[in-house]
């Protein structure tokens, strides 16, 4: 679907779900993602956030980049590109991966779906087609297809999401474990349902060809009517993902291929994602550099912080003492967590100071006057939000 105005060439593209979403975007709060018109929020960010934690909500991930990678050498090619070993990934399973430059700096993160022995789908937040093409050089019989504009994708997240899909009549949905996916059909059109998401809660992602998007939406919203279904936008996503401890580009990491200044991008170890790097793999892009990075310990480490008080530590610096003389890091994302009732943040902290006292200087405004306070913070190893229900199979039914 496209805009009809005389400026349509310059206007954002419209997602396959746009018609329905525009009706529900009561506040007209739009931004743009990968050229698509995309909701910042629909009604109110906090309300939508609570739908994710209390009932369920849908988030339009159609603007996400989706690539089909097919052929005899598809697996070898991807395995060479990403840091994780995907050779043992089973069909109908999804895995979370990173890929790096030769210098071991993170280009992007994403998910790989193993559709078949020689058929994979890779999804990621930013366009990566050029890098994929580069990565495929030397691998014969690998076909890369950009599915982005032809594949509608909708994330359904929250505790009642399972009940909604059951109500929709999707059989075998009860058997789907986290990171499983299944292929089914919706009125004769192939529908992929994966138990994945970006909220740390129970949730699914639904993939269907663009022309069937509206039908999927209508079926989903009809089934979800009594389960509190509500579309949510970028603002609520950002709250939920921070509680779940997930990283966001241009918050926690700067995509390496778009980074101007030396080492203003990050390594997986700096992002505390060392578990995604498999050194047992004979070769992958950036391996040598990452071996060195691990050995020398990364300069910074991304940490989760529980901060005193209730003022979000947005754009704050971290110090090793209350007097704020020795600056040891910076906050990348911060918020008051309504579900956990804690003042949470993620921060890049110089690795050598991780075991020291940590102090954060927070600036806040009250009726045009600026205030600041210096408070203690504690490093948290686990995500702030990690409910049991997210892992249960079959999930709780409402």
């Amino acid at each position: 679907m496209n805009n009809q105005s005389k400026f349509s060439d310059e206007q954002p593209k419209l997602s396959p779900f746009h018609e329905r979403q525009a009706e529900l975007n009561i506040r007209d709060a739009w931004s743009v993602w990968n050229g698509y018109k995309f909701a910042d929020y629909y009604y109110e960010a906090e309300y939508e956030y609570f739908c994710i934690r209390n009932t369920c909500g849908t988030y339009d991930i159609s603007p996400m980049q989706k690539y089909l990678i097919e052929g005899k050498n598809a697996e070898s090619m991807l395995n060479r590109m990403v840091t994780r070993d995907i050779s043992n990934l089973k069909i109908n399973r999804v895995t979370y991966v990173l890929w790096c430059t030769n210098e071991g700096r993170v280009i992007d993160d994403g998910t790989i779906f193993k559709l078949d022995a020689e058929k994979f789908m890779l999804t990621c937040g930013s366009p990566n087609l050029a890098w994929l093409k580069k990565a495929s050089y030397g691998f014969d019989n690998v076909k890369i297809e950009d599915l982005t504009d032809n594949l509608a994708a909708l994330s359904l997240q929250g505790p009642t999401s399972y009940s909604v899909l059951s109500k929709m009549g999707l059989s075998d949905i009860d058997k789907l474990k986290p990171f499983d996916f299944m292929t089914t059909d919706l009125d004769g059109v192939e529908l992929i349902v994966s138990r994945t998401g970006f909220t740390g809660d129970l949730g699914y992602e639904l993939w269907i060809e663009a022309s069937a998007g509206i039908n999927l939406w209508d079926k989903l919203y009809a089934a979800g009517e009594n389960y509190g279904i509500q579309p949510y936008g970028e603002a609520a996503t950002n709250m939920a993902r921070l509680e779940a401890g997930f990283i966001m580009p241009y918050m926690e990491f700067n995509e390496a291929l778009k980074t101007v200044n030396f080492q203003h991008d990050q390594t997986p170890f700096e992002l505390n994602l060392g578990w995604l790097v498999d050194f047992k793999k004979p070769i992958f892009n950036g391996k040598e550099a990452l071996i060195q990075d691990k050995k020398n310990k990364p300069k910074y480490t991304l940490t989760k912080l529980d901060i005193e008080g209730n003022k979000p530590a947005e754009a704050s610096y971290i110090y090793s003492e209350k007097e704020c003389k020795n600056e040891i890091g910076y906050v990348t994302s911060a918020m008051w967590s309504p579900a956990v009732k804690a003042n949470i943040a993620m921060a890049m902290i110089k690795t050598e100071y991780l075991d020291d006292e940590l102090w954060v200087e927070i600036y806040y405004e009250k009726e045009l006057r600026q205030y600041d306070k210096v408070v203690r913070c504690q490093v948290k190893d686990k995500p702030f939000w990690m409910p049991e229900r997210a892992k249960l199979t079959p999930p709780e039914k409402y």
Partner: protein
């Protein structure tokens, strides 16, 4: 026989909070509850299969965030979900919607009165200013104004400083505010009667005062000073019902080694040599402890489970005359579908907030007149919320339950005691009124529980069913709560304390009374304080 360090009588949310902080300090703590379920007035009860009523308290805005965080109540299953706007229904059927967003709300008010739409900004600023000061006292023990103890003097100076910071003019206004009626207070801002009625209703909820009674302005403030995650005046629902709050606190208590005994009504507090030493249960069993904490209201504590002869002179009389008048009823209704209301747009957001059947100031005052005469109005004020429109755990999918709080409902009727027939008549009055604004409402009713002050007192133990455990009038607030000279949670018998809403800062599911009391107990025992400081948004 096992002797406990502390026994808390009553497993309401304040009693559980008190016990948790004592247990956290290492005390061997036991909570004794008369009912076979915990929670007192913060409960979730399945009274009809598949429907879970918060059949007493039903919404929450005062729960101290610092306690929620400190006790990690989220881990123990508590999530507080703010709900959106409220619709007020006028006598003529007109509606006014309090939208959650400032823009739509302003437009809605402006459509009725451009003057009042502007005045709303000033009202909100003034209420916020008043509320800021009160909020700072919630997690502090009130100072004794007659004492020269350094701590009391320090606290008095703190209060004086906060008060002084308002500026001369506002100090006058504030003092005036405390003695004003809600209606007169609002007269200074608004000209439209429905807007006034919408704003005045928090001034009468739970109190035996009318919109024109002096003191109701403070009640209004008490109801709007709460917040959800810093959003002042917002109200939240506990996911799973109000019982989720009590169960989360009980989870924290048990994590710290505390014990709970249900089905164990306390008959008496045992006093020996002017010291509280234990309790006798109705079963005859004695349980001993070094500290006895009553979470019951002041009247019930001193006139029902203590002997007059165990109390110093004057206390029994004070308790007997403690103002704790029953004035509210509750009707919990299971519905087969979401009701539709007249004169409202098909907006799923506003239709899923709260409904206030206020009518007008006059109608609310008339309802008060009926209460004074010992009867109920045939046009009562009803505050309704449909929690199931938000919470998927409290009714079957597509079905709903509606909480209806009714002001006023007398504790004693002029024509004799409450009977099941009169109770049902009262319930019918409520249903009839809602039906006027929502034709077809009656056909949706699957099950209904009607509670007058009689049922509330009988089941939960609140004297006269008073939801605040004592009126929130200035003679019973701050250092006057529950009685002058006894506002610091210590009671006239040694080793005996109070921790319920009869103490500062009064009614509401805040956990503040229980926590403040625990802090005082630990101080007397020279134990390290386990109670956190309040997490104030106003700093």
């Amino acid at each position: 026989m096992k002797k406990y360090d502390a026994i808390i009588i009553g497993a309401g949310h304040n009693g559980l909070t008190n016990a948790t902080y004592l247990a956290k300090a290492g005390l061997n703590t036991l909570v004794i509850e008369k009912n076979d379920y915990i929670g007192g007035a913060a409960v979730t009860r399945e009274l009809h299969e598949g429907w879970f009523y918060s059949n007493c308290s039903y919404v929450c805005s005062m729960m101290r965030q610092s306690i929620h965080r400190d006790l990690n109540l989220t881990k123990h299953g508590l999530i507080l979900v703010p709900y959106l706007g409220t619709v007020t229904f006028g006598d003529s059927g007109d509606t006014i919607s309090v939208y959650h967003s400032e823009g739509p709300y302003y437009n809605e008010l402006r459509a009725r009165s451009p003057h009042d739409a502007d005045a709303m900004f000033r009202l909100q600023a003034d209420l916020n200013r008043y509320a800021q000061l009160i909020r700072k006292t919630l997690m502090r023990t009130p100072p004794d104004p007659t004492s020269f103890k350094p701590r009391d003097v320090k606290e008095l100076i703190f209060l004086a400083k906060e008060f002084g910071a308002l500026g001369e003019q506002e100090i006058y206004e504030y003092i005036r505010f405390f003695t004003m009626s809600a209606a007169e207070f609002l007269d200074d801002y608004f000209e439209d009667d429905l807007i006034k009625a919408a704003m005045a209703s928090p001034g009468i909820i739970g109190t035996a005062l009318g919109v024109y009674s002096p003191g109701s302005a403070y009640i209004l403030l008490h109801h709007v000073m709460g917040d959800v995650d810093g959003s002042i005046g917002a109200w939240g629902l506990a996911r799973g019902g109000m019982g989720a709050i009590s169960h989360a606190i009980a989870g924290a208590l048990q994590e710290h080694g505390g014990e709970i005994r249900t089905n164990s009504p306390v008959q008496k507090i045992i006093v020996k040599n002017k010291k509280a030493v234990g309790v006798v249960l109705e079963s005859g069993e004695e349980v001993n402890a070094s500290i006895i904490v009553s979470n019951l209201d002041a009247k019930r504590t001193f006139t029902k489970i203590m002997e007059k002869d165990d109390l110093p002179d004057g206390i029994y009389d004070k308790a007997k005359n403690f103002k704790i008048r029953g004035s509210s009823g509750k009707v919990n209704i299971a519905l087969s579908a979401l009701p539709k209301f007249n004169n409202l747009p098909e907006n799923k957001y506003i239709n899923r907030g709260g409904q206030n059947f206020s009518g007008s100031l006059k109608t609310m005052e008339k309802a008060y007149d009926c209460w004074k005469r010992g009867t109920w109005s045939d046009d009562p004020f009803i505050e309704s919320v449909i929690p199931s429109a938000w919470d998927p755990t409290v009714a079957p999918p597509g079905k709903h339950w509606m909480s209806n709080f009714i002001q006023y409902c007398p504790a004693e009727l002029a024509d004799g005691p409450w009977t099941p027939e009169k109770r049902d008549q009262f319930g019918q009055t409520v249903v009839d009124k809602i039906e006027r604004y929502s034709p077809g409402f009656k056909d949706l009713i699957v099950h209904m529980e009607v509670r007058t002050p009689h049922e509330i007192e009988k089941e939960i133990g609140l004297t006269e069913g008073n939801i605040f455990q004592g009126e929130l009038t200035i003679d019973q607030l701050l250092f006057n709560r529950p009685f002058p000279g006894y506002s610091q949670y210590r009671m006239p018998v040694k080793n005996m304390y109070m921790c319920g809403s009869s103490t500062h800062p009064g009614g509401g599911v805040s956990s503040a009374c229980g926590a403040n009391s625990a802090r005082e107990i630990l101080m007397d025992l020279r134990k390290p304080n386990t109670v956190p400081e309040d997490d104030c948004y106003d700093e």
